[in-house]
C-alpha cells in the first residue's frame, strides 16, 4: 500500500513508516506565535516548568492582530512577548512585517516536508509550501516551546483534484469557496486536504496559499499542495534545500476523492453566517454593502490587489461604501506600492492600512455596527466575526470585492468591463 504525502512527511520525520490514524510525538521544525495566542502559550510554557525554549531558532514570533497596540491590554501583551523573546534569544518580527501566515511563508519558515505548527487556526496555509502545517491552541504551543515536539494524530487525506482553466474574473478563492460549500464546515474534520490537478499546478504560490488557508474552514487539520517547481522556486533563495520528490503514491489510500472542473465556475460568495454557504454571485448580486475589506492572510497578496485594481480601472469606489485595503505583509505592500496600485486605490477613495489582520477578526478596527453588511476577502463570516453579532459578513474574491466596492452592492465582476 502506498503512502499519502502527509504520511510520507511523518514517516520522514520519524524514520519509519507512519500511517494515518497513528498518534506520534513528532519533532516540530517551526512554531509560530502571535500577539493573541502567544502570551498564553508563554504562560503555559512557564507553568509547565519551562526555563529555556527547546530551540529559539525554530520559533517565529510577530504581532499582527492588534497592531499597532490598540488598547492597554494589547500593549502589555506585546511587551510581555518582547521580553520573552529577549530572554530566550528568539528573533521577534514585532509589528514590522505583517500577518503571521504570510510572513512565515515569505521568511522561508515552512519548506516542503517540514512539520510546522502555529497557535492560529489558519496555519494550514503553509501546506501551499509543501509542509505539513496545522493550527493548535496555546497550551499545546507551550508544550512545543518546551519540548520542540508535539503529539499528532496522523490524518487521513481527502484528495481534491481540480482541472481546467478559470474564466476571466474567476480564481482560486471562488474554487475554495465552492469546495467548502460541497464538503461543508465539518466535512474534513481530523483530515488533511490534498490539492492536485492542472488547475492547482497552474496556480502561483498566492493562489495555492488561498486554497490551503481555507482548509480549516472545512474542519481540516491541514491543507497541502505537493511541492513542484513553483514551490521549490519559491523556497530557493530563502533556504538552502535540495529539491526532492514528495507526492502521494499512486496506490495511496484516500478517505475521499473529489473532482472539480473549474471551466464553468462562477464567482462565488459565501453568505452569512457560515463559510460553507457559498453561492454563485448572481444569486446575491444587488445586496447593498456598507463595508468592503480586501486583505487578510487569505487574499492580501500582490496578486489579489492586482486583480482588484484591474477590475477597478480608473473608476472610484461608491460613496456609500467604505473600502478598506490592507496588504498582508510589508513585502506585499511594497510590491503593490511599486506597481502604483496603492495610489490607484487611494485615488478611488479606499482607506489603505499598514500590514495587519485589520477587520478580519473584529479585534482591532473596522468593526461593523448592528445591521451593517460587509463584503470581505477574508476567510470567516461567523456571526460577530467583524463586530456586532447583528451585522452580516459575506465572503468573496478580490475581483468581486472590487466590483462591489464600485457600485456599493454585491456585483458580478464579470459584468464590470
Amino acid at each position: 500500500m502506498g503512502a499519502t504525502v502527509v504520511e510520507k512527511i511523518f514517516s520522514m520525520k520519524c524514520h519509519r513508516d507512519v500511517n494515518a490514524g497513528e498518534v506520534v510525538m513528532a519533532p516540530v521544525d517551526n512554531a509560530m506565535i502571535h500577539d493573541i495566542t502567544g502570551p498564553l502559550a508563554i504562560q503555559k510554557f512557564y507553568e509547565m516548568g519551562g526555563k529555556r525554549v527547546h530551540n529559539p531558532e525554530r520559533i517565529t514570533m510577530l504581532f499582527d492582530h492588534q497592531v499597532p497596540a490598540d488598547s492597554l491590554e494589547a500593549a502589555e501583551n506585546q511587551r510581555y512577548m518582547r521580553n520573552f523573546a529577549k530572554e530566550q534569544g528568539i528573533f521577534n518580527y514585532d509589528i514590522r512585517e505583517g500577518v503571521c501566515h504570510q510572513v512565515t511563508m515569505e521568511m522561508g519558515k515552512a519548506a516542503p516536508g517540514e512539520i510546522i505548527i502555529g497557535a492560529d487556526s489558519h496555519t494550514c496555509m503553509y501546506g501551499a509550501g509543501g509542509a505539513f502545517a496545522t493550527g493548535i491552541g496555546s497550551t499545546d504551543m507551550g508544550f512545543a516551546l518546551k519540548f520542540g515536539a508535539l503529539y499528532f494524530r496522523v490524518p487521513e487525506t481527502i484528495r481534491v483534484t481540480a482541472n481546467g482553466v478559470f474564466k476571466k474574473r474567476v480564481g482560486p478563492k471562488d474554487l475554495i469557496l465552492s469546495i467548502a460549500a460541497d464538503i461543508g464546515a465539518d466535512g474534513a474534520t481530523y483530515q488533511a486536504i490534498e490539492f492536485v490537478g492542472d488547475t492547482i499546478e497552474g496556480m502561483g504560490m498566492a493562489g495555492r496559499m488561498t486554497c490551503c488557508n481555507m482548509a480549516i474552514e472545512m474542519g481540516a487539520k491541514a491543507g497541502i499542495v505537493p511541492p513542484d517547481h513553483i514551490t521549490w522556486d519559491y523556497i530557493r533563495g530563502m533556504r538552502n534545500i535540495t529539491p526532492f520528490p514528495l507526492k502521494s503514491d499512486n496506490d495511496a489510500s484516500f478517505s475521499e476523492e473529489r473532482m472539480y472542473d473549474v471551466t464553468n465556475l462562477s464567482p462565488q460568495v459565501a453568505e452569512p453566517h457560515n463559510v460553507d454557504l457559498g453561492v454563485d454571485v448572481t444569486k446575491v448580486a444587488g445586496k447593498k454593502i456598507d463595508q468592503v475589506f480586501i486583505g487578510s492572510c487569505t487574499n492580501g497578496r500582490f496578486e489579489d490587489f492586482a486583480e482588484a485594481a484591474e477590475v477597478l480601472g480608473d473608476r472610484k469606489f461608491s460613496d456609500t461604501t467604505r473600502v478598506i485595503i490592507i496588504p498582508a505583509s510589508r513585502q506585499e505592500y511594497l510590491k503593490t506600492l511599486r506597481a502604483g496600485l496603492i495610489e490607484r486605490f487611494v485615488m478611488a477613495g479606499a482607506l489603505v492600512e499598514a500590514p495587519c489582520c485589520g477587520p478580519c477578526m473584529g479585534g482591532a478596527f473596522g468593526l461593523l455596527a448592528p445591521g451593517e453588511v460587509s463584503l470581505s476577502t477574508s476567510n470567516r463570516n461567523f456571526k460577530g466575526r467583524q463586530g456586532s453579532t447583528e451585522a452580516s459578513v459575506y465572503l468573496c474574491s478580490p475581483a468581486t470585492a472590487a466590483a462591489s466596492g464600485i457600485y456599493g452592492e454585491i456585483t458580478d465582476p464579470r459584468e464590470v468591463e
Binding site: 513528532a26 494589547a74 507551550g142 519540548f147 473584529g362
Partner: protein, 165 residues
C-alpha cells in the same frame, strides 16, 4: 445542574468574540461568553452546568480563550455530536471534558444528565446513551488534570525519532 443546549457549528468567535482576546483571566472571560449570541448564559450559568451541542462544536479560530471562558464559567463537561479538532484538543488541555455522543441531539434542556466515562455512556433521564471513547493519549492528559500537569514533571518527551538516534 442545568443543560445549555446549542445547535450545530457553534464557532469560537461566538463563544468568545475577537474584541476580548487580550484578556486571559478565566473569570473575566466568562463574563463575555456567548455575548450577543446568548446573553443569559454569562448571567445565569452555574458551576456544574453542562453544555450540550450538535455537530462541529468549537469550529473556527484556535483561540483557547473559548474553552478557558467556559471553564471559568464553571462548565466542566461539554457533550456534542462532534467537535472541531482544535477545540477538542484545547478543551482537554485546559481540563474541560469533551464528550462525543452521536445522540446528543435527543437531549433537551431540563433533562437530568449523568456522565459515566468508565462505563462509556451517558444516563439521560434514566436512559443510556453511548459515548465515543477518548483516545488513549488524550486520556493520559485528562487523568493528569490537563496538559500543563502532564508536562510538569517531564524534562524530555519520547520523540518518534528517538530509537533511531
Amino acid at each position: 445542574m442545568r443543560i445549555w443546549k446549542f445547535g450545530d457549528n457553534v464557532d469560537t468567535d461566538a463563544i468568545m468574540p475577537g474584541r476580548y482576546l487580550s484578556i486571559y483571566d478565566p473569570h473575566e472571560l466568562a463574563t463575555h461568553a456567548f455575548e450577543g449570541i446568548r446573553d443569559e448564559f454569562a448571567l445565569e450559568v452555574k458551576p456544574g452546568d453542562i453544555i450540550v451541542a450538535g455537530k462541529n462544536f468549537g469550529c473556527g479560530s484556535s483561540r483557547e480563550h473559548a474553552p478557558i471562558a467556559l471553564k471559568g464559567a464553571g462548565i466542566t463537561i461539554i457533550i456534542a455530536e462532534s467537535f472541531a479538532r482544535i477545540f477538542y484538543r484545547n478543551a482537554v488541555n485546559v481540563g474541560l471534558l469533551p464528550v462525543v455522543c452521536h445522540e446528543a441531539g435527543s437531549i433537551v434542556e431540563g433533562n437530568s444528565v449523568m456522565v459515566d466515562l468508565t462505563g462509556g455512556h451517558l444516563i439521560v433521564e434514566g436512559k443510556t446513551l453511548p459515548v465515543a471513547p477518548i483516545p488513549e493519549f488524550l486520556m493520559k492528559i485528562v487523568t493528569s488534570g490537563g496538559l500543563v500537569e502532564y508536562a510538569l514533571g517531564l524534562e524530555e518527551v519520547p520523540v518518534c525519532t528517538a530509537s533511531h538516534r
